[in-house]
């Protein structure tokens, strides 16, 4: 086991890179560093979501009991499910469902969490404490149980599902924004802006929030990954998107009972879609983080 572990005073400084084409050259190497397969994956998903009606060979909600549970074949690339519906088409259409719910949910979370976080960080004191406590409480309740509770209170619909996604992610954005705003509260340039006559709100919006742009974008992508998992999980349990509306999680649930009979395609393919989408969002989020960290 070899680990060279001495940290000695002086290591030579980074040598400046060779830049043959100046700015263009920099962008090119930038591209290699930061834009990679993850973006491609997400791009494919977005395209699929937009072009689903065109790409899907079959009607995603038309049941065809004569062709139930067919294994993957040339006619049905991913096979058919228990209602005879083409799984491939359903997966394509489900991309819309899942991505829409995830994106809207996270957008709401950002719209709620970021301002509240900025408020919390800037004002400090009681408001800060109260909001932090509230976030902690929401986060103390295990995710799926919390979601079940909300469904119990508000009924089982996709709107509530979006609400759950938003509610679960809002505290994350609140904490994130707060952590960006808090240290800047006493900064000199803030005091200068105030002296120049800017109101607190203007100060926050114009001078402080831009610093939060980068971490929030990174977290946005990661929250979308989280949101897709939540959506799929809750739909699997039967909450959110009603059957037969195509959604990855509910598709997995439909196929779950068939697994023990060896009919794997009904659950495996939608699950793969979830996995790849989550990996994509997660990877992009990390890449964005790397971009602003350098």
């Amino acid at each position: 086991m070899q680990a060279d572990i001495v940290s000695v005073a002086q290591l030579p400084p980074e040598l400046p890179p060779v830049r043959p084409l100046g700015q263009v050259g920099q962008l090119w190497s930038y591209r290699r560093q930061f834009f990679n397969g993850y973006w491609l994956v997400l791009g494919v998903f977005v395209l699929v979501a937009l072009l689903a009606p065109v790409l899907a060979p079959y009607d995603p909600v038309r049941s065809d009991l004569a062709h139930q549970l067919l294994p993957p074949s040339w006619q049905h690339w991913f096979g058919t499910d228990i209602y005879g519906m083409d799984i491939y088409s359903r997966i394509l259409w489900a991309t819309r469902t899942d991505f829409t719910i995830a994106l809207i949910g996270v957008l709401i979370a950002v719209a709620v969490g970021v301002p509240l976080g900025a408020l919390s960080g800037y004002l400090g004191g009681f408001a800060d404490d109260a909001l932090s406590r509230l976030s902690e409480m929401i986060q103390a309740i295990p995710l799926f149980l919390f979601a079940l509770m909300v469904f119990a209170a508000l009924g089982n619909s996709s709107r509530v599902l979006v609400g759950v996604v938003a509610l679960v992610n809002a505290p994350i954005f609140l904490k994130l924004t707060r952590s960006v705003v808090l240290p800047l509260r006493g900064a000199d340039f803030i005091a200068a802006a105030r002296c120049a006559g800017l109101s607190p709100i203007q100060v926050v919006i114009r001078h402080i929030l831009p610093n939060a742009l980068a971490p929030v974008s990174s977290q946005f992508s990661i929250s979308c990954a989280y949101a897709i998992q939540i959506t799929a999980g809750l739909s699997f349990l039967g909450f959110g998107v009603p059957i037969p509306y195509p959604e990855w999680g509910s598709m997995i649930q439909e196929g779950a009972s068939r697994i023990i009979y060896g009919e794997w395609w009904t659950s495996v393919f939608p699950g793969l879609a979830v996995l790849i989408a989550v990996l994509g969002f997660g990877g992009v989020g990390r890449q964005i983080h790397k971009m602003y960290a350098s």
Partner: protein, 333 residues
């Protein structure tokens, strides 16, 4: 990679006589970056018997790198490519890790700048010293604990029996340094390296720690290699001194000689900056230390040296004994 043998024997060394305690000859150490290899030490020479040798230089001069090279603890990507380090006649470069392990702490020890962070925060100081003792000798737990407590007491830590059970963060900087010295000396090494042991401590504490070092080294009969950027510290604690600049030795000699009458222009500049002029200003050496990768095979001080000539910019100066006991690397003195 087997280090190449010396081309030119260091002055005063005759084959066959008793080997010096520590002898570094023409040591070159490089840092391997993806693009090229950068020389960090470009032919370091020094030697020490049973005395106290100081190594002085600015940050980046290679002092700590030399200490790391002696102990075989160079960071990843940094390795020696040339020269030799002989300890009691034995070549250290190229020794397998298992043998180096038995030398560290037992024959050669080191204390670092920040003692509190150099110790394990989660075990008591007594346990840590005892562990070093047990690692190199076969004594029992209780015996090693007793020795640890004795060592702490002898280093001036009051109530050693109880203090041995305390954790590093419960010690002040100066006290923690005593603990570190204790761990370093518990096995009676022949050489103690002290790498900036007092930097960062209060002035009064600095004096105390230096006293502890010199006293304990004298008591255990070990030799001392003291690294510092502070010429004052060197003056107070060492018999001989090595002046390092950008990975090359500029001057070696008895401390009082080098400081009172330095021969190398860099050393002269360094010594001048020790004492403020009559009007209170400090005469500093103009310019800055060059980046390691910009220095080729030349005298690294050429860019700032008042005596610099063409030769200095193309040829590395070698150490010559200009006065008895004082070696200087310079083309122009």
């Amino acid at each position: 990679m087997r280090p190449e043998p010396l081309v030119e024997a260091p002055p005063g060394h005759i084959e066959g006589t008793a080997a010096r305690l520590l002898e570094i000859s023409d040591l070159e150490v490089i840092a391997q970056t993806p693009r090229e290899a950068v020389k960090l030490l470009r032919g370091v020479e020094l030697w020490l018997d049973n005395n106290r040798l100081g190594v002085v230089g600015e940050s980046g001069s290679g002092k700590s790198m030399t200490a790391a090279a002696i102990l075989g603890l160079l960071p990843p990507g940094i390795r020696p490519t040339k020269g030799s380090i002989r300890f009691a006649g034995r070549e250290l470069l190229g020794l397998p890790e298992s043998e180096m392990q038995s030398i560290r702490g037992r024959q050669i020890s080191i204390v670092y700048q920040n003692a509190v962070t150099s110790l394990n925060p989660l075990t008591s100081v007594g346990d840590q010293i005892a562990r070093v003792c047990r690692a190199h000798t076969g004594v029992s737990r209780s015996e090693s604990w007793t020795r640890a407590v004795e060592m702490l007491a002898s280093l001036g830590i009051a109530d050693a029996t109880h203090r041995a059970r305390d954790y590093p963060h419960q010690f002040s900087g100066g006290m923690a340094q005593r603990v570190a010295i204790g761990a370093a000396l518990i096995c009676g090494p022949k050489l103690l390296i002290a790498d900036e042991p007092t930097t960062g401590l209060d002035a009064t504490i600095q004096v105390q720690v230096l006293d502890v070092i010199t006293e304990s080294v004298r008591r255990t009969g070990a030799a001392l290699l003291l690294i510092s950027h502070d010429l004052g510290v060197i003056q107070a604690t060492t018999d001989s001194v090595v002046v390092l600049y950008a990975g090359l030795v500029m001057e070696i000699g008895r401390t009082q000689d080098v400081i009172s009458s330095p021969l190398n222009p860099y050393t002269q500049g360094l010594v001048r900056s020790l004492t403020p002029k009559n009007d209170g200003t400090i005469e500093y050496i103009p310019g800055r230390v060059p980046e390691p990768h910009t220095i080729g095979d030349q005298c690294p001080f050429a860019s700032r040296c008042p005596l610099a000539s063409e030769r200095c910019r193309v040829e590395k100066p070698l150490l010559r004994e200009l006065r008895p006991g004082q070696w200087v690397a310079c083309h122009n003195v």
